[in-house]
Chain length 184, copies 2
Amino acid sequence: MKYPNNIKKKNKTFVSYSNRGMCLEDSINNINDYYINNDIALIYKKPTPIGIVDVDYEYSQKIIKKAYFKEPSTLDYNGLYKGKYIEFEAKETKSKTSFPLANIHEHQINHIRNILKHNGIVFLIIFINNNNYLLKGIDFINYIDNTTRKSIELSYIEKNGYLIKETINGLDYINIVDKVFLEE
Amino acid sequence: MKYPNNIKKKNKTFVSYSNRGMCLEDSINNINDYYINNDIALIYKKPTPIGIVDVDYEYSQKIIKKAYFKEPSTLDYNGLYKGKYIEFEAKETKSKTSFPLANIHEHQINHIRNILKHNGIVFLIIFINNNNYLLKGIDFINYIDNTTRKSIELSYIEKNGYLIKETINGLDYINIVDKVFLEE
């Protein structure tokens, strides 16, 4: 028995990536597949956390009849690169001038602090003003610990972030990870 | 709006852990909480992968009306310990003499090989014959690559595995990880 893919995608508004016919998430999923198939890295999107309320056991395959989406307390992607632990979140913003902090939940901010504490590699990928930036977790935390603003200005992202190139295989972020986290 | 926890648990048969009133999964979830709360490690159970078929958008919170369970292609738990990537699977068996290989899917075996290739820490936790053992991923792969049997004999697990102690905080496996993977 086969079902169509995650229905969430259907209802997503492809604001910024619409010209290219794909969204940031697709582009990252594509490059992650490329990394896995070419033995470069093992990085996966975590399944959406849900709470299951009701399951139907009548059929040969169990069917979930009622469930709800839980708020994520960790970031969307995690995995393994050269023995190291990597975790990151990818977000698009319609704004061309700033990244709204409401995009990252309180629990996720604590989680970023925890990853830093345990020497993991952690970052955000932010699509803003038609560019993709990798912003290190520590630079994100430093910003929010020293501001009362509700968003990160584009100028901060341009200054502290690293441009990531879109390739035919997707958003090729792993060489930036090499440069930023492993060559220090 | 709150719902009861994952309904799967209700229908699980607590065969081996029944005397203690908890299952292997609960015991690992407890110790993982302990590790997180005490800044020892960041290890989580991955959400169960599901395929969503139908979602109801009528209410303030979206409700999943139909979904199905996907077969996992990775292992149950992953996370970060001292900068390293860790992934493992936990399984109980009713058998007192061998661990049926049917417990680990083909995709998961390939995934274990991949983690080894990328220098991650990977292992199984096996509850068998009233003991919990940590069996290194490499020892698991070596076994299945050199056998036509459909199960791992207890004697192999006793010889190559490492006993893990149950504590009041749960199944305390991280000191075994230290000894086996980090002191080499």
